[in-house]
Symmetry: C2
Subunit: 769 residues, 2 copies
Amino acid sequence: MTIYAPYATIFDEPKVRLEQENPMNLVLRFTDDVEDRFQLGNKGANLVKMTRIGMPVPQGFTLTIDAFRAFMRERKLPVAEIRESIAWLEEVSGQKFGEGLQFSVRSSGPVSMPGMMDTVLNVKTEEELLTSAREVFSSWNGARAKEYRRLHGISEDLGTAVVVQRMVFGNNGHTSGTGVLFTRNPNSGEDELFGEYLPNAQGEELVSGATTPLALSHLQETMPEAYETLHDRVKELERHFGDMQDVEFTIEDSELFILQTRNGKRTGQAAVKIAVDLANEGLITRRAAVLQVSPEQVESLLYSHLEDAGDAKPFLTGLPAAPGAAVGRAIFTPEEAAEEAESGPVILVRPETTPDDIQGIAAATGVLTCRGGYSSHASIVARAMGKPCITGAEDAVLDISAGTLSANGSKINAGDLITIDGSTGNVYTGELELAQSEGSAELDELLEWADSTTGMRVWANADTPDMVAAARRFGARGIGLLRTERMFNEAESLELIRGYILAETASERRKALATLQDRQREDFIQIFKALGDIPLIVRLLDMPLHEFLPEGYAEGNERVANRRTEMAEVNPMMGHRGVRLGISQPGLYKMQVDAIQEARAEVHADVRLMIPQVMSQREAIVVKEHIDHAGLEVGVMMETVRACLRADRLAEHTDFFSFGTNDLTQAVFSFSREDAEKKFLNTYLEQGLLQDNPFTILDEQGVARLMDMAIRWGRDVKPELGIGICGEHGGNPESIAIAHQLGVSYVSCSPFRIPVARIAAAHAALAEG
Amino acid sequence: MTIYAPYATIFDEPKVRLEQENPMNLVLRFTDDVEDRFQLGNKGANLVKMTRIGMPVPQGFTLTIDAFRAFMRERKLPVAEIRESIAWLEEVSGQKFGEGLQFSVRSSGPVSMPGMMDTVLNVKTEEELLTSAREVFSSWNGARAKEYRRLHGISEDLGTAVVVQRMVFGNNGHTSGTGVLFTRNPNSGEDELFGEYLPNAQGEELVSGATTPLALSHLQETMPEAYETLHDRVKELERHFGDMQDVEFTIEDSELFILQTRNGKRTGQAAVKIAVDLANEGLITRRAAVLQVSPEQVESLLYSHLEDAGDAKPFLTGLPAAPGAAVGRAIFTPEEAAEEAESGPVILVRPETTPDDIQGIAAATGVLTCRGGYSSHASIVARAMGKPCITGAEDAVLDISAGTLSANGSKINAGDLITIDGSTGNVYTGELELAQSEGSAELDELLEWADSTTGMRVWANADTPDMVAAARRFGARGIGLLRTERMFNEAESLELIRGYILAETASERRKALATLQDRQREDFIQIFKALGDIPLIVRLLDMPLHEFLPEGYAEGNERVANRRTEMAEVNPMMGHRGVRLGISQPGLYKMQVDAIQEARAEVHADVRLMIPQVMSQREAIVVKEHIDHAGLEVGVMMETVRACLRADRLAEHTDFFSFGTNDLTQAVFSFSREDAEKKFLNTYLEQGLLQDNPFTILDEQGVARLMDMAIRWGRDVKPELGIGICGEHGGNPESIAIAHQLGVSYVSCSPFRIPVARIAAAHAALAEG
């Protein structure tokens, strides 16, 4: 009897920040030796840091978050300590409070929060200073601040500090002024100061927009020495903080003061360039550079997007099924789409798509369907091809014969320009301006650094030679999932597999398979040519055969109708598909493997075979009898719960596991994804029954827990077992972080998600410290 | 971090008999001190036992299974030891081998096996004895014996022994004879010798059937003393072996010899009576009595069955969906069935059944459908009602308007008598003889003893007052599952729930619910009256609402058609049903609970509520907000995998678990039961990919493993957590044994399976020793 330990994982509890036991500090000066942002807020902590490295910071002090808490309990401010600090400031500045010495009073929280009382300037009396501080503290409980915290899940326990700082005056004449700058260009990432300057003015005038500010070059021309000092000081800040800074400064009678600094916001393009430049300049490590760029920033680099929809109102909204934006003429049939695409971009608009629409989707720059969800045919194909897609636009009334698309009172005709935003689900009439995607040499460099931080690799799901080529271009280390359904769904092959299904004699079946094998051999040859030296996992046929005889095909043909009735299923997702097909029709799998072997004889390729929908080692053993003659590695798709529960046995009989997290999620939740997304998943998300859509972000508490057990059981038996994830989760940063914790060997995702996945994988590894 | 131990359970490995290290014994005499049937075979071991207790056994010796193995290795018999034993027998008997002393030579295996060389009589020489022994040993590898072992999974390692025994002669004149007897009546269980006797004959004549044997009373009349001795001797054997014996005897010159004894085969009725009588006579313990009766014997007591189909050939075969046999007139519509049933038994024959057929099924004595599987509507309803049912009789051509049922060249008309055997799936024309089911006082007594052996209780699944009453009659300790679907499916309620589904205003919806509540209150009152003081678990509505608007209902009505389209699902099993319905339509669950509360105000009842299809504690919490005002215990149906993976959290928020093993099996295997049983499950069973249908026998390696973890996690949090199983597995003996190992509190099954379940539960407990 093995000893049982109640199973627990890192996934069980959200991480919480531990309360630290510090002595109470109610008032801290910028010169004090405390930098804790949970005591001082971000602003206060940065002022301490700047003071410490000798920046010309107007001095002051902070009423800490401990003071905030005391205030909330007892409605009292630490007046004695405040007076002591004022006396200290009078001594340091040589000026009297209320005369030369005036203060600004600002809130300073660990997170910045709209709705908080922000700034009171020119505070001249203690009646005034205490009142301002009380107001800042009290504004923590203002309705807007509370609502913001609720919406963003910010803890009520965080609290806010108050920063009291000596005023300096940019409005003291023509040798005074105020400005803001970024230490590098926040759009392009170029290494140049980028900012604005207003002579003889205070900061509020710059922000209010009442006066048009001047370029920084004005300061350079009028006060070159002050500019040089500014340049040196802010570059010193950049070096110190190891990141591009967003700085507020004031010049008072030719003397420079730095009022505030923080890491600057930037575009994805700038983020990548700045991070790589900083690392190459030796200012930060390569690891820090990798951490500076978020997966979302990388993503924004790769998809076209709406520069700014501005006042444009969508006339139709659907599900954001595949990210990116596209402009094109709305075309309603795949044939016309293929034809029209030659004379300019088109958006394919369909009630929903089927395998027959593939050519149309391939020709279009974007896809819009009236029905379907995130997992509908259009979604999956478009995501895989890296094209924007909107599905489930249910308000649309599409009249294909009339050539019109109506929705919410608007109507467009076939051939009219529309803009779709697959990141939001919005559809606009006419052409909106798009920002085009751009890769860069810096991105390639950054991603190489990213790869070096982790042993977890990024592979790609790819079904065509083009996609295999794209995968390699984006840095895939392997093809983790090649679905072979496409090879049966192309027009001529489709007739062959239908012939196989409808065959009444073994001889007819054999003939259909033989011809299919010839076609698939040629197909594999093209794929292997694109593959180069990376490994390729071919998934044997998964889809139920009845999908090859859809309603509408060969109407009136009795043989087809009968076969269709025979094969009909109540719950096709859990029906006669995957390995069950391989068991009942062993000739199909053998044909596929023989086609692969024939192709390998012509083009060298590192091919591995994968069996879908397995639930027991017996299935793997029986299928292997039909395909082992090829001598290739054979793995199983882990997408049934029972496969996970029998992972130890499966590991004995197979070479690798690849988790199919889409189907596994369906099985763990007993949710049919298609039905769930149409029927009740939104209610669940809105009511907080689910925090995230488990088909987008891997379910930590359930699915990942099962995967964790399966991986441990499998590796107990075979420590060298290769383990991958090839569901759509493989391209999702949160899911990639979970994958890293699970210790998988690779995640496999759409080629166009690879850069995102590589940076996300690195972040996951670096988060472990 | 909790320490992780790779999870292992008792379910991991089949138990194997350990090889024992014994010294080689090639020849053993009946007087030797070895009783091991794996050395002597059953026959040899019983002869040793009888010798030991002083039975008049013709003496002899056994060539052991070690000798068999040595022979198989070296083709040599232990001739020296055989000679020694012959010399010993000559000494004991005072006769010379080949003269007065002759031998019989028989095979004696640990399991009896057709195809083995059985008996050589009157062996007079060593040339002959050795040859016979060699032939017996060699017959182990005969084609028929090998095939038998393969079919029955008997190990090739068992081997066989050879018994060499002194001949006694029943053909020695009128004071000699031979006979066989049972020590009690094997049909009724009455305590009387039951057997046959043939004077002046050897045993072979008795068996051959060439001569008609006489009743034992002949012996009693002609040789009263011999009869008395025989009676005393066989009763002594019965006492010694603690079971009814099947004895072969010979009388040689008025001297009685017992040649062989073994536990006698018997009917279910006899098994129960004999076991109870033996215990009440003090010959065996009550536990031993419980172990003497198999679940199958109890089952045979409860269902009508074909006495003997004899030469009758079925004209149609389907799936054996619900056990038992029935004779009746074939009727093709539920209305006619209800009418015709008043003038005699009818069999309802339908293409498939729907809730509209309920009255017809209730009126019929059996059900036959052309389509459907083990889980189709007809199967489930018929099993629940304890009626025989055959589904999926796909060769049937049913023409309802013509009133004919044709199959395989036969045709019957509506009203013709047919016989169905729901235990085999066979349908016969005309009336075959049935054996009727009978309970008995002995059965009740035995089941009470059974209950006292285990803490695991047997509850019932029951939906109607009649079924609740039946459940109590069969000894249910609670109702573990009352499905409320029926309360919506009766004609008038059906219109109300349809009104609710089709309502366009909240007010319409409220009105429909209010009327439904009145009807359901009355329904619950009837159920509570039947319930008495046992607890009742009511499962809140589980079925997807679209099932209330089946194809064919209100054809041409656009509102219905639109709503049906809106609600259609691709994989309804994993769609908008169960708790997902409770979340999106909280009024429905509240109405059900309010109806229960109103009914409880009139009739006292111990009611507990159960939420179906739960996958997270948040769902349970949200639903409880709508139903907690009733102050009833609330439990969850454990039928999604995620519920099992989150059992610790669910235990915090709920009062009990009930595993819905049907749906859980579907989710673990990713098998849609209905599709699987139609499409590929047979292939899996035939090819040995599955040993059993996991919907019949709980899957030890997968489903039970997950349940085991869930139970441990749940009880870690709440040790007193009540845990039940309410899938159909609850009535299956093998599954009940697994349930016992899992430590569940109760299994809940069809009322008509309760006696079977009670005996199976006891066997499971006693098997643990």
